[in-house]
């Protein structure tokens, strides 16, 4: 066993010396992959003028962005897409850090606050994607530094085997009710959608009421996960009765055959209404691969791209005429929370301070 281990070890070191001599910044492909790329047959409607690399920083988690990226790559086989996923704020931090030395071409965010904050810092450059005029109004930056992609709603997911239909909560404020103590799961404070919800609530209800709600969640022993996939799986498995998630996590969990239901909260008179948010994309100022970045944005708001978001991930497309997934409840039937996006954006730092103050995990 030992001579074999030593053999493997030295082989590895030898290969790596060879590799290190030919280092190029971001491309360290094993030889097999380069072969793969030259032999793959180009798809129809490819644009030969767009080639080279494309670096995407995506706040959308990998499973929620890869299918779209793959469809884009099929269309532009000469583009090599490099994807880095993380939390919105983590990637935004990197973009700010890199302003004098830009690395990324496109930033994709799961909410509008972070991307607007970036635009205000001058980290993005304006671009109006092809067909952007047909997008639903009000979800793009006036100065065209970013464009909205899809909408999602903040809903309550529940396990149908563990919750009596009579008992269902009707409002996000019911989550602080002691009768759900220890039975609720949510994403934590590092999650963009959760941050955006808190920012929206600060706008709708003020600082004090939002703080009380957050403290109520913590007191009620809500379990905060890093992301929503853990939340939906935990509720699907019956580990928790309720979960605070984006609406498509209900559909994703149901598609796995779990006994789950969905509640669109706060629909009654005098209640705040359904909180929605939008995902967005923008081109980084000084993007090294501008042509590919523009092609990606065009693709994301095209009928084809919007259909992928709607069909694969049950999101609300922003392009007119793209149909919702049949299982998804149209937003037109629901009472939506009305808040001033611009003001929420301006107060985003205050949202972080509030999260810190209450010690949200």
């Amino acid at each position: 066993m030992f001579p074999f281990a030593r053999f493997v070890f030295f082989c590895a070191l030898g290969m790596l010396l060879i590799n290190a001599c030919g280092i190029t910044p971001t491309a360290d492909l094993p030889p097999g992959d380069q072969l793969e790329m030259t032999t793959s047959t180009p798809m129809v409607s490819s644009d030969a003028s767009v080639a080279g690399k494309l670096v995407i920083y995506s706040g959308r988690s990998e499973p929620l962005i890869l299918p779209v990226v793959e469809a884009f790559q099929a269309k532009y086989p000469a583009v090599e897409v490099l994807l880095k996923t993380g939390s919105n704020s983590e990637l935004a931090n990197a973009l700010i850090e890199e302003q004098s030395n830009p690395q990324a071409d496109v930033f994709i965010s799961t909410e509008l606050f972070t991307i607007q904050a970036l635009a205000q810092q001058g980290a993005l450059q304006p671009y109006l994607p092809m067909g952007a005029d047909k997008l639903l109004a009000g979800f793009s930056a006036p100065d065209q530094t970013w464009v909205g992609l899809t909408r999602r709603a903040r809903v309550i997911l529940y396990n149908t085997q563990r919750v009596d239909p009579q008992d269902l909560p009707a409002s996000i404020f019911d989550l602080t009710d002691p009768k759900w103590k220890g039975q609720v799961a949510s994403a934590g404070s590092t999650n963009g959608s959760m941050q955006a919800q808190i920012a929206a609530m600060r706008q709708l209800l003020g600082e004090a009421a939002t703080e009380a709600w957050l403290r109520g969640l913590i007191e009620n022993k809500v379990t905060f996960f890093g992301g929503h996939t853990d939340v939906r799986k935990a509720v699907g498995a019956g580990e928790f009765k309720l979960g605070l998630v984006n609406h498509y996590y209900y559909h994703l969990q149901q598609a796995e055959g779990s006994p789950v239901g969905v509640i669109f909260p706060d629909q009654g008179e005098g209640q705040i209404g359904l909180i929605t948010n939008a995902t967005a994309a923008g081109i980084v100022r000084g993007a090294p691969n501008l042509a590919a970045a523009r092609a990606l944005l065009d693709f994301l708001v095209s009928r084809e791209g919007q259909k992928l978001f709607a069909e694969l991930n049950y999101e609300y497309p922003l392009l007119e005429g793209v149909e919702l997934h049949p299982a998804v409840q149209p937003l037109e039937d629901l009472r939506l929370a009305q808040f001033d996006m611009a003001q929420s954006i301006a107060n985003f730092q205050a949202t972080f301070d509030l999260i810190e103050k209450v010690g949200l995990p």
């Binding site: 066993m1 590895a12 790596l16 491309a27 990998e62 935004a92 004098s100 580990e239």
Partner: protein, 544 residues
């Protein structure tokens, strides 16, 4: 006359290579100290408001949490490590040589991967085991929650005890039986002999092992983040990724490094000191002590540790990997070609950790040589400076490199080389210790013989010194390779787009809740880490 010539030759030959050697060693020490100096300056220059806010709200809680966890893990892994070492070295436990190997192997499993597995298996209600019991037997398990302080203590203990186990086992084996026999002859009971003779002899190695475990726990990010127990590292990570102002992260890093430095200084005091001298020629192994009625509990204890720290994680990874491979769609999404594919992740892990190991070994040479061949207060200082990596957790290295590289070496920024540099800075102490030990064992007379035979200093180094020191230097490099493979937080923060290692992959997939997809990457990581580990264990003759 002949002798005079010899005497003249010796200092001349050494003088010629002393200055370049010293300057090289100084350069390495400067490189090693850069992050520390940087963090110190940043933390001190952070505005008073940041300090004030943190002092009021968080700092004490983080101190308390970090110290509590460090103390708990160090204590429990010491007890388990020494206990296991005694059982496999001194008792009549069956299958001792097999257990020696099995008890050392958990070093190949990163603690955060162990945490992912145990969390997934044990989570109350949702976990695999509670669900299985509920379905099969109709029993609802009492909810043992692996989250929080106790969970983090448990996980970190079962994955760090091998450090202490290996050091104690080596000490038990080196201890001459005659010393214990002498104690028995003078009327001490076996128990008294253990407490007053054996344990003091273990002390130097044990103390060093405990302090290394303590430093390791302080630097741990993945496990505490996953099990939601907030320590300095996880708080720094949140500040670094969540906030646009990094001054709080710098303050927290400063506090953490100060805490770790205290432990490192204590460790440096014990390091290389207080060895118990024995007369080699009279050495013979101690007689095995019969366990008697304790036989079954002892065996159960050893098997329990092996099960929790090795069998369960490896079995879970193998089963999940098989499930992934059998699902056509999932396996196609993992084993795709290109930079998002499995082969690329494997390759990235291999070459970044390998390059870090080589660089660390090369950097360690001048420092180790200088401290052995021209020992002085200055070279000892250089040697100590090169140990600061132990006190710099991955998140802190990442924070400092993020700034330093972007400001002063922007061409390096967002290349995999920054990740490699982080590995080197963090793990340099391991290779420096390996090389130092190797050079210390070479008699100066061998080099002097080469000089008298007309070789210059370069030839002497290449033909005599390096070949003799090579196994020791390689052992240090292997340790750097092993720990770099397992490194998570610095890689997460510094990796460029498209550069994912196995560790990052396993972490991201598991973080998104896709445990099955994470399994092949985690399994490959554990197998890869097993290669340098088996080399190290054999070199130290810990396994046959």
């Amino acid at each position: 006359m002949h002798l005079d010539a010899l005497a003249n030759l010796k200092p001349k030959g050494r003088e010629t290579h002393r200055l370049p050697l010293l300057s090289l060693a100084t350069l390495v020490a400067l490189l090693a100290a850069t992050p520390l100096v940087y963090i110190g300056l940043r933390a001190l220059s952070a505005d008073a408001a940041a300090w004030q806010r943190l002092l009021q709200a968080r700092l004490w809680l983080l101190f308390r949490n970090t110290i509590l966890l460090t103390a708990a893990v160090t204590a429990s892994s010491s007890i388990i490590g020494v206990g296991l070492a005694w059982l496999t070295e001194r008792s009549n436990l069956p299958a001792k040589s097999a257990f020696r190997l099995l008890l050392a192997l958990p070093l190949a499993i990163p603690a955060y991967i162990g945490a992912i597995i145990h969390l997934n298996l044990m989570r109350p209600r949702g976990g695999v085991i509670p669900k299985l019991l509920e379905n099969a037997l109709g029993i609802t398990m009492p909810a043992w929650n692996p989250l929080g302080f106790w969970g983090a203590t448990f996980i970190l203990t079962i994955f760090t005890y091998p450090y202490i186990y290996l050091l104690s086992a080596a000490a038990f084996r080196a201890l001459n039986a005659t010393i214990e026999e002498a104690a028995r002859v003078f009327g001490r009971t076996p128990k008294q002999t253990f407490w007053f003779v054996v344990l003091p002899a273990l002390r130097p190695g044990l103390t060093a092992g405990m302090l290394l475990v303590a430093l390791d726990v302080m630097a741990e990010y993945g496990t505490v983040a996953l099990l939601r127990y907030e320590t300095f590292t996880s708080a720094i990570f949140v500040q670094l990724t969540g906030r646009y102002d990094h001054s709080a992260a710098a303050v927290l890093s400063g506090a953490l490094v100060a805490l770790a430095s205290v432990i490192l200084l204590a460790e440096l005091r014990t390091y290389g000191k207080g060895r118990f001298t024995q007369v080699e020629s009279q050495w013979r192994p101690a007689r095995a002590i019969a366990l008697g009625k304790w036989h079954a509990p002892a065996l159960g204890f050893v098997i329990g540790v092996v099960t929790a720290s090795l069998l369960i994680p490896v079995t879970a990874l193998v089963v999940w990997s098989m499930q992934t491979l059998l699902e056509v769609e999932t396996s196609a999404s993992i084993f795709r070609p290109g930079v998002q594919g499995f082969a690329a992740h494997l390759w990235n892990s291999l070459w970044s950790a390998g390059l870090a190991a080589i660089l660390a070994a090369v950097f360690s040479l001048p420092v180790a040589m200088a401290s052995i061949r021209s020992p002085s207060r200055f070279t000892r200082l250089l040697l100590r400076i090169c140990q600061v990596g132990y006190a710099l957790p991955g998140v802190v290295i990442a924070l400092s490199l993020l700034y330093i590289v972007n400001r002063y070496a922007s061409f390096l920024y967002a290349t995999p080389l920054v990740v490699v540099l982080a590995y080197v800075l963090r793990h340099l102490p391991q290779s420096v210790r390996g090389s130092e030990a190797a050079f210390a064992q070479i008699a100066p007379s061998l080099e002097e013989a080469a000089y008298t035979l007309g070789r210059n200093s370069r030839q002497t180094f290449l033909r005599v010194t390096l070949p003799l020191a090579f196994p020791g230097v390689l052992a240090g490099a292997a340790l750097v390779f092993l720990t770099s493979l397992k490194e998570l937080p610095a890689t997460l923060l510094l990796r460029p787009a498209g550069f994912d290692t196995l560790a990052v992959r396993a972490w991201i997939w598991a973080g998104d809740g896709f445990y099955q997809q994470a399994a092949p990457a985690a399994l490959a990581l554990v197998i890869l880490a097993g290669i340098p580990l088996s080399f190290l264990l054999r070199k130290e003759e810990l396994i046959p």
